[in-house]
């Protein structure tokens, strides 16, 4: 394979993680983790609390560097070209990260500024992004007045502002009621189709998985399976995803909401 073809096949993936290990002191958090998120595809990162999902997110967002292996976003290495990689990345953290006292618009224009956009363009993009998540009319309200699900949708709108090719979400539906969960999931799935974004969706809730998704099963820092949903069932010789999860991890199944 010559270099340009190799480059192309790499750039097809929104995210490529190869051979990444990480430890805190003597505690191993990730052990030789490899996974890919195709552009325009929905990939579920399934794992219990403490499986290493947050550590992986910290490495992808370059909170700290990976010391072994490589992580690249649309072909840009996170360690070697951090600016280019982070420019292509959108993140929704597990914790709420909006300023409650500021308006939706102020929150979004702040984020647009963090990506170098000027005030005029920021405002237009912010309104367009709020319309994407169905909150266009509430642009001038304070975040404090939003419900949990609405705040999540604002966070999704926020990370669309700099038009990332990869969107990663760390348990975005935790603490939401069923209606809000469904609306958050459907908005993100819609973005995959309409905007061609690659999504990595971390969760421990099995009912958030659809048959067409790709699935990465992370357990105690190791990837036990990566592939399609039918492939997972076949791999484990099980009838359902939850049975497959139990069989592969040897633990009780994750929550079935």
């Amino acid at each position: 394979m010559d270099a340009s073809v190799k480059q192309m096949s790499q750039s097809l993936n929104a995210l490529t993680v190869r051979g990444v290990s990480h430890r805190f002191g003597n505690l191993p958090a990730l052990d030789d983790v490899s996974l890919t998120v195709p552009a325009g595809g929905f990939t579920v990162l399934l794992g219990l609390n403490g499986a290493g999902k947050s550590t992986l997110f910290a490495l992808i967002t370059r909170l700290y560097d990976n010391t072994s292996g490589t992580i690249s976003i649309l072909g840009q290495d996170v360690r070697r070209q951090p600016s280019a990689a982070l420019q292509r990345l959108g993140v929704v953290f597990q914790a709420r990260t909006l300023d409650a006292d500021l308006s939706l618009l102020q929150n979004l224009t702040y984020h647009a500024a963090l990506h170098g956009l000027g005030p005029g363009e920021s405002k237009l993009r912010a309104i367009a992004a709020l319309e994407l998540v169905g909150l266009g009319e509430r642009a001038n309200e304070k975040v404090r007045h939003l419900s949990g699900g609405q705040a999540r949708r604002v966070e999704i709108a926020r990370c669309m502002l700099h038009r990332p090719g990869l969107l990663i979400l760390d348990e975005p539906t935790v603490g939401l009621d069923i209606g809000s969960r469904e609306s958050v999931i459907s908005i993100v799935r819609e973005l995959v189709t309409t905007h061609g974004i690659g999504v990595l969706w971390a969760t421990h809730l099995i009912d958030e998985i659809e048959k067409t998704d790709r699935i990465v099963l992370l357990h105690e820092g190791k990837v036990l399976y990566a592939g399609t949903v039918p492939g997972l069932r076949e791999h484990a010789g099980a009838d359902s995803v939850s049975e497959a999860f139990r069989a592969l991890t040897g633990t009780t199944q994750p929550e079935l909401a």
């Binding site: 500021l102 170098g116 363009e121 090719g165």
Partner: protein, 314 residues
């Protein structure tokens, strides 16, 4: 550009109609800087209680503590003062320092809090270099401090605490032949104190930023007050001149002299009267470089203390 075309620009390059990514230019850096500073100011203005307490604190010291102390403490003539001054006048630069110190520590606390809630992570996933993001955040804190400082000086003016040195002249010639801008008191002092405030604010902010990366949990503000603010404030020249301290305890004098806050206060005190205290300037500058370097090192993803300790939760 309309909202509709803006919606198109939300599409990544691989989507139909998506534009290619481009590296950031100088203007993008400026936009980022302005965004960070603006957020700090907006947040501060929305926290009315914080503004009020930031203002009341030094005023209580000025009106009550200083008024009571006026009789107890005689201040001899020491530079930059050319006459005997009232204790209120002596203590004002120290109170400006206190405003900066509280503001810096409060922003440090909010950074630890930010780190746990994730707002700090939102900042750190910006594609701009980390030293730039952290420096911008520091300058945002200083912008907030400036609002407090000048509001305080405005109120203090009515208690006749003001710079009273001859007009600041920027131009050529002297006396009748002077040609240029002449800035009369009190505005001359308000202008010359500005760089000293900015530098001291940056230095204390950098110290706080470094603390925010080292201290894993600051349970509440009381801990910071007891272990950082009070020792720094009281063991300094903010409330009493150093020679006075030396008379009672040479050891305390040494401690005060090695306290960077003393030099921040002296830098402000001299600048208020249009003078430069070279020692104070060099010490504040040195501490600024050191603390900022340490903070940037601590937040560096490969070397930093965050990586070593496991970073924030969540």
């Amino acid at each position: 550009m309309s909202v509709d075309t803006a919606a198109e620009t939300l599409k990544p390059p691989n989507a139909p109609g998506g534009r290619a990514y481009r590296p950031h230019g100088v203007l993008a850096y400026f936009n980022c800087f302005r965004g960070i500073v603006w957020r700090e100011v907006l947040r501060f203005l929305h926290q009315r209680e914080r503004f009020l307490s930031a203002l009341v604190r030094p005023l209580v010291w000025l009106f009550i503590f200083a008024a009571g102390f006026r009789q107890v403490l005689g201040i001899s003539i020491i530079p930059p003062y050319e006459t005997y001054v009232l204790y209120e006048t002596y203590v004002t630069p120290g109170l400006l320092g206190m405003v900066l110190l509280f503001n810096a520590m409060q922003s440090s606390l909010s950074m630890v809090y930010d780190r746990e809630t994730g707002a700090m992570r939102t900042l750190l996933v910006s594609p701009f270099p980390r030293w730039f993001l952290l420096s911008s955040k520091l300058l945002g804190g200083v912008a907030v401090a400036l609002l407090q400082v000048y509001t305080f000086l405005f109120i203090a003016y009515f208690w006749e605490i003001e710079p009273d040195w001859p007009a600041l002249q920027i131009g050529v010639g002297q006396g009748e032949d002077f040609f240029g801008i002449s800035i009369p008191p009190p505005f001359n002092g308000y202008i010359t104190v500005l760089p000293a405030i900015v530098m001291s604010g940056l230095m204390l902010g950098a110290l706080a930023l470094f603390m925010s990366s080292v201290i894993r949990q600051l349970e509440n503000f009381a801990g910071v007050m007891n272990f950082v603010i009070f020792p720094m404030f009281f063991a300094s020249s903010a409330l009493y001149p150093l020679w006075k301290i030396r008379e009672s305890s040479p050891l305390l004098y040494e401690i005060c002299w090695f306290n960077p806050f003393t030099h921040a206060v002296e830098l402000i005190r001299f600048a208020f009267y249009g003078q430069l205290n070279v020692t104070a300037f060099l010490v504040v500058l040195g501490c600024l470089v050191f603390f900022l370097g340490a903070a940037i090192f601590a937040y560096n993803p490969s070397k930093g203390l965050i990586a070593r300790r496991g970073g924030p939760r969540g």
